[in-house]
Symmetry: C2
Subunit: 353 residues, 2 copies
């Protein structure tokens, strides 16, 4: 059962209060390093991949100004990530950037937070209070219970926000340990109804990162906790978004895009599944209703899995067979597999109600 | 609590009955397509990565003979995957290959299974009865409860084995749907004490595959179910093994090798974390006791995470800092990061008790 949280708005995006769980990622390069037009192109790709919000580090005033320009033309919601210098938050709020993340561990004195809140209220922006185990406030670093330390850090910031009667706030409590992350968020969600941004931070490269985020994020979503997710990987932003999508797919929280069944390939395969999938990047589209696709190397499980799929392809000797709902609809030479399957996939999408 | 299963032996490898959860993968190419010496090299790499057993598809007699040669010189345990033709199982048992997988959906009449069992008993080999939702016996294909159909298929094979009083058997019940896989294995484990090989089959390419296998496999291991795991990915065998390792790491079921903390990198990073990790493949070794490594892009969380790590590296302007248990032990130019860190990593490993 989804835990009811209050709802917060970041530009067009609703977070919490029954809104769909949104997916976010973070921009990986310094803002001055990439032309604004190229950033906007990438944001378009991230949006097509299912991303709802992209956060940018803003370490200086130049970066803030570039981000202002990006936000004016962005196809998705932008958030600014601020550490150390509250004045950068104020600058970002002028454009305005609709969501500002600050870190209680390094934003400094209460009056600085007060200034940021006043400005956010003025322009209708929301804040994220992002607590990280790697950058806890000094007084909490000795606490041996890391989950408790994360909650305490969030609470000390919450007290300030309460005094200012500011409620447009998302919280996050993250550790690189997935179990600590789960424990901290469960404890927070038992006490407070602020929406939660969840994810396992510094989770490592692709493989360990996907494993730890899958476990951490699904454990929480399964308990009804989590309003927006960010998979943190030492990999591309697109990889983070795709992992987020697959996590939501696995829990039936998203019902658009392809559900992919594909075989690991063995010595029996007469059809190069991996190669076929590499050539089929169009299958990543999120702009269709759910279609189940099966890509199989041989006839052992091929027809069987294809029986359960809206559209499937199986190697069969020097040919491939294309299936629709268990019926063979086409047999073509392996060399024509890519183009023939794409045609049939597009027909299958067009048939979706 | 680990569910107690009976123990089965495949060559040197113990499965079930309190043995550590083992990791397996499958060879992806036709056996005649790669020189035996090259196969053996790859098996060595898979073993170093933490793999315990590799299964090979044996679709014909030539493949069986090549596999016999591989098995004689293999650095890890070999299993043969047989569909349709029981005579190939008999051939493999002659070498002997110490573990044979047969599929109840296509192995055929009872007397064929009886012949295979007699030979396996003779040579001290074990069997895996591998049931797949994509290749169920004909009489079970209409069953709408897929988990139940998987259990029924396993049971009908089990009756034959019971009559023959043959108990050196591992079972697997797999679907491309992770929840069906979990339900089938839970139902099986409630009734029987045969060891279980678990994994989500045909789970797709890297990202969806890791997500679905993480959820399916950890759900079961968390319930004490599962004696050997195979992550099925439309990706490399090494990727499958590494994912398996990370799943066991996440559940504290393996305690060797590196636990990796690394930042996703943002515009604040002064150190290219992804590039550094690509150059640091030596960190994948499983032949050390547990070392926690933190690779961080900047000073926001860097020193904090490094504090919890046995050995860590953080970008800091044009330099990097190397940490040991929270103490800066070295500062070097970014260009020397790779070699300096490797030295310190090797020292950290040498210090492990």
């Amino acid at each position: 059962m989804k835990k009811q949280t209050r709802q917060v708005r970041a530009g067009d995006l609703l977070i919490g209060g029954g809104a769909p769980v949104s997916i976010q990622t973070m921009w990986k390069k310094p803002l001055p390093a990439v032309a604004v037009s190229d950033v906007l192109l990438c944001l378009g790709e991230l949006r097509a991949a299912g991303c709802d919000l992209v956060r940018f580090a803003v370490p200086d005033c130049d970066s803030a100004d570039i981000l202002g320009e990006i936000a004016r033309n962005s196809p998705l919601v932008i958030s600014a990530d601020i550490h150390f210098d509250y004045r950068l938050a104020l600058r970002c709020l002028e454009f305005p950037i609709p969501k500002i993340r600050i870190n209680p561990g390094n934003i400094g004195e209460e009056w600085k937070v007060r200034d940021v809140v006043a400005k956010a209220r003025d322009v209708g922006a929301c804040l994220r209070i992002g607590v990280n185990a790697g950058s806890l406030p000094r007084n909490l670093r000795a606490e041996s219970n890391q989950a408790l330390a994360l909650v305490r850090a969030a609470e000390s910031e919450m007290e300030i926000l309460d005094r200012l009667d500011f409620r447009s706030v998302v919280f996050s409590l993250k550790s690189s340990d997935w179990e600590t992350t789960v424990a901290a968020n469960v404890a927070f969600a038992e006490r407070y109804d602020f929406p939660l941004h969840i994810g396992v931070t510094e989770a490592g490269p692709l493989i360990p990162g996907i494993v730890k985020n899958s476990l951490g994020i699904t454990s929480l979503l399964d308990k009804g906790i989590g309003d927006t997710i960010r998979v943190s990987l030492s990999a591309t932003a697109l990889d983070e978004v795709r992992t987020g999508i697959e996590i939501l797919n696995a829990l039936h929280l998203r019902t658009n895009g392809v559900r992919m069944i594909s075989c690991p390939q063995c010595g029996r395969a007469t059809f190069d599944v991996q190669k076929f999938l590499e050539d089929a990047s169009y299958l990543a589209t999120q702009e269709i209703k759910r279609v189940t696709v099966a890509v199989m190397g041989c006839v052992v499980n091929g027809p069987g899995e294809a029986r359960h799929a809206d559209i499937g392809i199986t190697g069969a000797g020097d040919h491939v067979m294309i299936f629709r709902l268990g019926e063979v609809i086409r047999e073509v030479a392996a060399i024509d597999a890519v183009s023939a399957f794409r045609e049939e996939f597009e027909k299958a999408c067009a048939r979706q109600p």
